[in-house]
Symmetry: C2
Subunit: 433 residues, 2 copies
């Protein structure tokens, strides 16, 4: 049974704060092991990657078989049934269309001092995408990571996807093909992150690494950060649903369960202004938990991390949601747009009862890689900006330097940086000669 | 004497690679000490911050004096001479105008399936800016960090600036006032970062921390990352100047020295197609190093990390520059704009001989907080985006769900996520009833 909170209870604040600060992730400390793996790959390159892949994935590779050939990819993706291929193609197309609108524009202007200012966006030269193997090998995540990189114009995009015991997922390879991925390596774990960051004889290094992974992958990404860029370190998934009584309790129950089934550490929260509706949703969740394939996982998540909060009014719901800063927020309300104006922190918002969160996982268009663990307070979901950087531009004319140079001289002096000031003074002196 | 490289030498590639991989930073490992400080502040709040400030800054504070009062700020900034005030005001105005153009737009559109998609930008609720004390207490850095936060709309902006032995820098306080900073605390070090991240009785926690600092501050920022957002961890400053023979060697020498004088670990590189010009610049640097106030620092930097590279042509210069991915790049060439089109990685570009890098440090408008240590390959300088996050929006209609829902059902099944699929199926079933 999930925890029930009532916003009008005297001790609500204490209970809600406890809910917010509950630690759901229990990642093992693998940092030492990961440091050793990274050092090994740095020192021995391919040989280390091959040995570690044999040890962890029970797969014997050579420098020649680290990477899939195009023919191997062709053979595997030919196994994908038409229905799944069509669904992936629709998803890819919609994700591409959404992310294409995120491309920022270069700017250049001349101001009243005569200075020409602006900036230019350029993509990273090479990006690496980590794709988990086994159970959590999701083709949709390949699309969500790879398409923004290609929309950004990244010329070289490599993915690593482990194939434990040689088991490949043809859908993952098809998703990579549809996204325009350039290189696919059959490696995983911290050794894959190290190979992407530092390079080996057979794998050229990249400048940016994104993608989800287990504790080893997360620790490796933290360690290579600085040498390369990384995306966020994702925690367990979360959903918060704000729903009034005019909803079908089964729909809301399934939306809550679609997060709960990801992971026992996942969290599903319902906020509603109707205690009756809250009980109806809870009852529906219980019924689905009798038959759901992943009922063990979903049941543990709902029991240990689930919460149902009743509120006197919907603007209290918005205020509580902002404190949660949920990864996914569903607003199943008549005036979903109105309430969404009050939302200041959320990774993604799903508006209205016809927008189940699962649509956003696959075919909506927006990215499903979103900030977890309350980090929507300060970060965004994956987007094309992750693969771009801004170079600022400035050009002075003699007149512009005459106008603003003296202020730079004064400030350089005040900061005791003499050469800074002299570099301006020397030029101004020339103008006055 | 700096290292001289000639791009036409047989062993140039080896020498250039060595230059690229030379480790300039020698930060002490203070991670354990920092972990203890953070734990102490988490456990004891104000009391810990006050004790640590007494120990490190020889300054006795109380919970009431941690924060400057408005009257104290008024008194201190009244000490700033008019000339410096006017220079700071001009800088603030130009930085604000530049960053205002970086504000991204919200978007919303309805696609052919009938889905309404888009995103909305919101600022972080509270940001903290670390300002170093003592020698490296730069008012210009306050402007460069605080103004983008305020342009982004951050409602609460706090700064921490240590005052060793009670020594405050009135210019820093004036810069904070001009930038619209809301709270100023007289604390520093890892304890200030911990207080901003976790909060104390007197200091409310923030969601994002930016700003430069020493090894303790950098280690503390790394540790609180995840709990809050942080900006990059800056390394020693760098400049790369590409200049042809039609330049005044003294101007270029001063531009190189204006990085070298920051720090012995700073790096200044000249790339030119003229060996004669290279020697003239080197000679000029030597002359300035006889008299420059910070000649010890600048001399050590130039001797240990400086480099002069001669190239057969300017497009070789651009290619080498892209491998360096410099923080600052000056193009002192007749066709600076043309060559800048070949630059793929640089934090900031200064175009033409009338644009000394020092202009960008103070009054140009673009930010002077820029990616160091080759990280311009994958990251940007500080900008308003650092203080904003994007919430994606999606709204389906029954018709839109009918159009794209079935693909989501197929993909959910292929990923063995049954509840995901059922949340769509339940709604589609209702439509077909």
């Amino acid at each position: 049974m999930p925890v029930y909170l009532d916003a009008t209870d005297a001790d609500f604040e204490a209970q809600f704060t406890a809910l917010l600060s509950a630690k759901r992730e229990d990642a093992p400390d693998v940092d030492e092991a990961v440091a050793a793996i990274i050092a090994d790959v740095q020192a021995r390159g391919d040989a280390a990657v091959i040995e570690l892949t044999e040890r962890f994935d029970r797969l014997r590779l050579t420098p020649q078989t680290l990477r899939y050939t195009e023919a191997e990819v062709d053979t595997l993706i030919a196994l994908v049934p038409d229905e799944e291929r069509a669904a992936l193609e629709l998803a890819a197309e919609r994700i591409r269309a959404y992310h294409a609108r995120q491309m920022p524009a270069d700017e250049s202007w001349t101001d009243e001092a005569g200075a020409t200012l602006g900036w230019r966006w350029t993509p990273v030269s090479a990006a690496g995408l980590y794709v988990p193997g086994g159970l959590a090998s999701y083709p949709s995540s390949v699309l969500m990571n790879a398409i923004p990189a290609k929309v950004a114009g990244v010329p070289r995009l490599a993915i690593t996807v482990p194939t434990p015991d040689g088991q490949a997922n043809p859908l993952v390879l098809l998703a990579a093909r549809l996204s325009g991925v350039d290189e696919i390596y059959r490696i995983g774990g911290a050794q894959a992150i190290a190979a992407l960051a530092y390079g080996t004889e057979s794998i050229a290094p990249v400048d940016k690494i994104t993608g989800p992974g287990n504790a080893f992958v997360a620790a490796a990404k933290r360690r290579v950060f600085g040498k390369v860029g990384i995306d966020m370190i994702a925690g367990p998934s979360e959903i918060l649903v704000i729903a009034d009584a005019d909803n079908n309790p089964d729909w809301i129950a399934l939306d809550l369960l679609s997060q709960a089934e990801h992971d026992e550490s996942a969290q599903s929260i319902l906020i509603t202004d109707s205690p009756e509706f809250a009980r109806a949703v809870d009852a529906s969740v219980s019924r689905y938990l009798e038959t759901l394939e992943r009922r063990q996982i979903a049941g543990a998540s709902w029991r240990d991390n689930g919460a149902i909060i009743t509120v006197p009014d919907l603007s209290t719901a918005a205020a509580l949601s902002n404190r949660v800063a949920p990864e996914h927020l569903e607003l199943c309300l008549a005036d979903a747009d109105g309430l969404s104006q009050k939302i200041t922190h959320a990774g993604a918002i799903f508006l209205g009862a016809w927008t189940p969160e699962a649509i956003g996982d696959y075919v909506g268009g927006p990215n499903h890689v979103l900030p977890t663990a309350r980090s929507a307070r300060f970060s965004s979901g994956l987007n094309v900006m992750e693969f771009l950087k801004r170079t600022t531009l400035a050009r002075m004319t003699p007149a512009a330097l005459r106008a603003i140079g003296p202020a730079a001289e004064v400030l350089a002096r005040s900061e005791s940086l003499e050469a800074h000031g002299l570099s301006v003074t020397a030029r101004l002196k020339h103008l006055n000669e």
